[in-house]
Structures are given as C-alpha cells and as structure tokens.
C-alpha cells in the first residue's frame, strides 16, 4: 500500500514537472478548458439562482388564485364571489385582490399597480419598487404624477420604497390604497382582479381547487405548485436550450482535447519512449497520463467555476444576461442569492470533464503502448 502511494506520488511529481516544462501547450489547453467550464457554469449557476429566486418569491404567495373567465379570457371578479365561496374546509383565508398594469410613456415601461393586503396606505400616497426609485429618481417625500387611462392626471406622494431583496418581482411595483386604485383605473365598486386563497395543508390544495370549480364554474383556480412547476420547467428549458447551443462548443472542445493528446510533440514521444525503455510499464505511463488529466481538469474546473461564480453573483451575469433574462423593459438589477448544488456540479462535470476524459482515452493508450525498444531504433 505504501509503495503504491509512493509510486503515485512519483508519477504526480513527474507529470507536474512535465506540464511545467511544456508551458505553452499546457496553458493553451487550460485556457480553453477553463473557458468552457466558465461558460457552462455561468449559465447553470444563473438559471439555478433564478429558479431559487422564483421559488423563494412564490413561497410567500397564496396557494390558490381564483380568476374569473369570460370566453376564455381573464375578467374582473364580480361582487359577491368572495362571499359565495364562503367557508370552505381547509381554506385559511380568502381575499379579493386588486392589481393591474400601467404603461408609463415617459420611461416606456410597464408598472404593476397593486393594493396591498398586508399594509395600509393612506389615500394620495404610494410605495414604489426599487426600479422605479432608480429610474425616476424618486425618494420618500417626492411627488409623482401619472396620467390615468381616462386622461386625468393623478398626483401621489411617495412615502416608502420596497426592500431590494426580492427585486425580481417587486422592481416595478407601485402600492396604493384601494380608493386611489379604484379612482385611478375607474375600477367598478365591489369588483376584484382575482381572489387569493390560502390553504394550510398541501394535500388539500387540489381538493379545494376542485370544489372551487364546482362552486363557480366560470372561474379558473391557479395553484401555486402549478406556477412553480411552470417556472421550473421554463428555467430548465432555457438552460437546456443554452446547453444545446453550447453543445457545439463542447464537441469542439472534445476534438481540441483529442488533438492535444494525440498530437504529441516529438519531444514528448521521445520522453515516453525513454521511460518505457528504462523500466516504466504501460500501466505506469497510463497512470502518469491519468494524473496529468486529473490535474488539468481539476485546475480548469476550479478556475472556471470560481470565475463563473464571481461572474454570476458579483457581476450580475453581465456577459449573457440579455439571452436568459426577462420580459420586462425595466431590467431588475437584483443580486442573486449565491447557491451551489450537487446536481448542478455533477451535471457540469459530465459536460466538461467527461468529454475531456473520453477524448484523451485512446491517445493516452496509444502513447503509453509505445514499444520499449523504440529508442534503440531511431
């Protein structure tokens, strides 16, 4: 056992020194390898963080949102619906919600206007999201005017700015009182945008949903788990698309690695010939080359992953953000919560180290099975 360890130490020593002796070639491979890990890790870290963000945000939302449909289109919930649902087993809380979109022609952006249920806002006052704070230069105490769809101008005083934590969702939010909201949009009294229901037991959610359809056939319950599922598949799908596009890069890398491994310089061939002649066995040379691949892969993986981590969580994914991100004109500049997970790392490993290993397998074997008597025949 000791001898075995000692031997591996010798082989690692030798391969490290031979990598150092061939700086140009080793560096070239390392740079390309690292770049591949960096790009793939960036995409994967970013989509993963987005997914987490969405999950985190949705965790605070109601289990079921009930919408009313007319001709398959979303419509206002007429008065009396909340009462009609009444007490239903398993439902903790029911609430009619008021929210809508407003197009700001100054910034050419959409805001979400909303009446919050969990806080009271006095008439004539609003609380805005961080994106609005930035783009319109607002601060607490400032006044701002919006032109309603009817043409009237309404002026509000900003009394607060929402926290930055979940900026992905709250960036373009404007919170106001119910009276202001109804006046601004000329929203009919007693109508709501939708109804939110909180259900304590997750096993009950689907039953409640079914009962809701029975009670109000013209309505559509949207379950939080469905939204979550949709988000998850949308993000996964985007990541998958990105990877499919990048598969060409992975393939190119495989060919590159093959060439690097197969295209041994005359000097390297001579070296392996010498080693074989002076008593190294094929297995020893393979082990030596294995350690070479291990060192290069480890280094490239660490460098690429750390660089991607910094890129995603400190530089906000600056290089690829436009491809994967959002739908709104107001780009939320949210700081993602750093998170690393096992599936992701293992997946990344399969996409980078595996092609490298597979591509170098045959060239390594070829080099290692050089005849020991070659050096005497040159």
């Amino acid at each position: 056992m000791n001898r075995w360890i000692e031997k591996q130490r010798h082989l690692i020593d030798f391969t490290a020194s031979s990598l150092a002796r061939r700086k140009g070639k080793s560096l070239g491979l390392l740079v390309v390898y690292t770049l591949l890990v960096f790009v793939l890790a960036s995409v994967s870290l970013y989509t993963h963080a987005l997914r987490n963000e969405a999950t985190r945000v949705l965790a605070g939302t109601p289990e079921i949102v009930l919408q009313r449909l007319i001709a398959g289109r979303h419509d206002l919930v007429p008065p009396g619906y909340v009462e009609k649902i009444g007490r239903m087993r398993g439902v903790q809380k029911i609430e009619g919600r008021l929210w809508g979109y407003y197009y700001d022609s100054v910034l050419k952006a959409n805001y979400t206007f909303m009446v919050p249920a969990d806080r009271n806002i006095a008439e004539g006052e609003i609380t805005v999201g961080p994106a609005l704070e930035r783009s319109r230069g607002l601060a607490a105490g400032n006044g701002i005017s919006f032109r309603a769809y009817s043409g009237e101008l309404h002026t509000f005083i900003v009394t607060g700015v929402l926290a930055h934590e979940s900026e992905l969702v709250s960036a373009d939010l404007v919170l106001m009182s119910e009276a202001d909201f109804r006046r601004f949009f000329a929203y009919p009294e007693g109508h709501y945008t939708d109804i939110a229901l909180w259900v304590a037991n997750p096993q009950e959610v689907r039953n409640v949903g079914r009962k809701l359809i029975d009670a109000l056939p013209d309505s559509r319950p949207i379950l939080r788990e469905e939204v979550l599922r949709t988000y998850a598949s949308v993000f996964d799908w985007r990541e998958g698309m990105m990877l499919a596009l990048l598969s060409a890069a992975i393939l190119a890398f495989g060919i590159f690695a093959w060439e690097k491994a197969a295209g041994l310089s005359a000097e390297e061939k001579r070296e392996i010939g010498i080693l074989k002649a002076i008593g190294w066995e094929t297995g020893d040379v393979i082990a030596m080359k294995f350690w070479e691949g291990f060192l290069v892969s480890l280094l490239a993986f660490l460098l690429g992953y750390v660089a991607a981590y910094v890129h995603v969580f400190h530089f906000e994914f600056a290089l690829f953000a436009p491809v994967l991100q959002g739908w709104a004109v107001l780009y939320p500049s949210f700081a993602l919560t750093p998170r690393i997970d096992g599936v992701q790392v293992a997946t990344l490993f399969v996409f980078t180290v595996l092609p490298y290993t597979a591509a170098t397998l045959v060239p390594i074997w070829r080099a290692a099975t050089t005849d020991p008597d070659t050096v005497m025949r040159s």
Binding site: R229, A232, S233, I286, A346, V350, L354, I364, T369
Partner: protein, 336 residues
C-alpha cells in the same frame, strides 16, 4: 420529454458507456478468437496492448455508473416539483414504468463493471493471463446491458410529462399500496431489524473468517459472495423499513433517497458508500474463488479473494455501525 441539462448529461453518460463497450466489442471478438499467450507474433503483441485500453474503458464505465447513478437519483429528486403528488425522487421514478428499472439496470452495470475490474486485476497478476478470454466474453455481455441502461433511461425521460399524477414515497410505502416496496416498508420494525443484523452479522463473520483463512477454502469464498448479496438486500430493506424512519424522525417516512439530501445532512452517503463498496467487494470475492482451480492462479486467486473479503467485512461492519449510531442518536421511538 423534459428538456433539461441533468437529463442530457445522464443520456450523454449512458451513451458514452454504450459507445465504448460497443466499439470495444469487435476487438473483444478478435481477442477471443486469436488470443495465444505463448506466441510472440505481432498480432499477439497487438492484442496484449489492446487489453490496456479495455481496462481503461471498463474503469471509466464503472466510474461513470457511480456518477450517473447519483445524478439520476438527485435529478429525480429535484424534478419531483414537476409532478403532482411527487415529493421526492421516488415520485419521479414512479412517474412511469421505466424509472425504477433504469435505476436497477444502472446499479447492475455498476456491480458487473466492478466485478470485471476485480477479475481483470487478478488476471493481470498471473504471468499467463489465464482469464483473458473469459474477461472479453464478459465484455460482450456488458454491451447489451449498457444498451439496456440507455434504453430505459431514454424511455423514462421521454415519457416524463410534467403534471402526471404520481405516488410519492409517502404513498408508495403506505399501507394501502400493494407492492413489494410497500411490503418492505410496512414490515414490522422488529422483524426488519432482526433480518438486518442477522444478514449483516453473517456476512461480516463469513468474510472475516475467509479473510483470516487467507481464502484457502473455495466454498468459503462462495459463501462470502452469497452472504454479501443477501446482506446487501437486507441492508436496503433495513434502510427502507427502519433506518430511514430514525433518520427522518418520522414514523411513516420510508424514503431511501431523501437521506442523501442536505436537509438530512447527507447522512445517506455515510451509509451507501460503505454498503456499496462492501457489496461489490464481497460479490467479487465470491466470483474470484473458482479461479483457484487454474494452476497459475492457485495461490493468487485465494489471496485476492481473501483481500476482497477483508474489504467486504470492513465495509459491512462500518455500515452496520453507522446505521446503529444513527438509530441510537435518533429521537424517534419506534419500538417501545
């Protein structure tokens, strides 16, 4: 079909295993037909050189199976949110009929690859390479298995549609369901515990005895192999029937996969790593014993078998110890 990176990665890994074994097959046939260790002909030298490549490939296949089995389970766990009623990996694997078979096929390929590597190691120690033909005949058997792994995985993934109602581990192991798995789950803890410790104890003792006796008795090796397989299944039953309950501290949570998750401190690895190592080593110890009949392996095979038995004994003992500690440290009271 759900298009996502981990799935592509899994298919890629399975495809690569298959591609390697398939590409090796024609050479394996050549090797079986023309192998002649006594000859110094150029063809024989070429064939001998090829064996190094095949060893490398098998090592890679074996490693790939470990990696992709882990990834498969993890990914199933993460995808559980996409299926109504699925709460962990079991739900995803149950989403269609191919999930569990794919997992089993993967594990089978892992064990077979490990056994192949053990045979290869033994063969490489004897100066006349007596098992070469056998090794490459085995290789020909493995290629279809690798194809089966790829097929089952592909079928599993292509038939995964988000929103299929599936059972989760809660319902799978609940008393209403009438499956083998549920029977295991509802096995009385006392009986499961008895089975668990009896099988593991027997495997440890047999392996220790074989190891101490330097593997001289052939039936000892076979007993180690058989008892290792038995202990492996008993251990899995034990994990489902009671060890997991103690880890989750929940009387009805039987899942063998959730223990791998960070919520439970990755405790599953502490269990599965020694268990799988021990099972593979024990199995190999059994497989190697009959080879002692070949003259050049008369001393080598028992020695290798004893060594593997030693590893198996240590692995099973470690596994049993860790499981016992987890049970004792738990706050759950299952047996008053």
């Amino acid at each position: 079909m759900i298009f996502q990176p981990a799935i592509i990665a899994l298919l890629l890994a399975a495809g690569l295993s298959l591609a390697m074994l398939a590409a090796a097959s024609p050479f394996a046939v050549q090797l079986i037909r023309h192998w002649d260790i006594g000859s110094g002909s150029e063809r024989q030298l070429r064939l001998e050189r090829l064996t190094y490549l095949f060893s490398m490939m098998m090592a890679l296949v074996c490693g790939l199976q470990i990696l992709s089995t882990l990834l498969f389970v993890f990914n199933a766990d993460r995808m559980a949110v996409m299926f109504v009623g699925a709460m962990c990996a079991v739900g995803t694997l149950n989403a269609n009929a191919y999930g569990f078979p794919a997992l089993y096929a993967q594990l089978a390929l892992f064990f077979l690859a490990a056994v192949w590597l053990a045979i290869n190691r033994l063969d490489n120690q004897a100066r006349d390479y007596p098992l070469t033909r056998l090794k490459y005949a085995l290789l020909l058997v493995y290629a279809p298995l690798a194809a089966l792994v790829l097929y089952l995985q592909f079928k599993h993934f292509i038939h995964l549609e988000a929103d299929v109602i599936t059972s989760c581990c809660g319902s799978m192991f609940s008393e209403a369901a009438d499956t083998v798995a549920s029977e295991l789950g509802t096995m009385a803890p006392r009986r499961a515990i008895a089975l668990f410790y009896t099988a593991l104890g027997a495997a440890v003792l047999l392996a220790l005895w074989h190891w101490r006796g330097a593997g001289r008795r052939a039936w000892g090796g076979l007993a180690v192999g058989a008892s290792s397989v038995a202990a492996f299944f008993a251990a899995l039953i034990g994990i489902v029937a009671f060890v997991s309950l103690y880890i989750y501290e929940h009387p009805n949570h039987h899942c063998p996969f959730c223990i791998l998750k960070p919520e439970y401190g990755y405790q599953g690895y502490l269990l599965y790593v020694p268990l799988f190592t021990a099972a593979a080593a024990g199995l190999a110890a059994g497989v190697l014993t009959p080879f002692a009949r070949r003259p050049s392996l008369a001393t080598l095979a028992p020695r290798a078998s004893a060594r593997l038995a030693g590893i198996a004994a240590a692995g099973f003992a470690l596994f049993a110890a860790i499981a016992s500690v987890m049970v004792l440290r738990s706050n759950l009271i299952l047996i008053a």
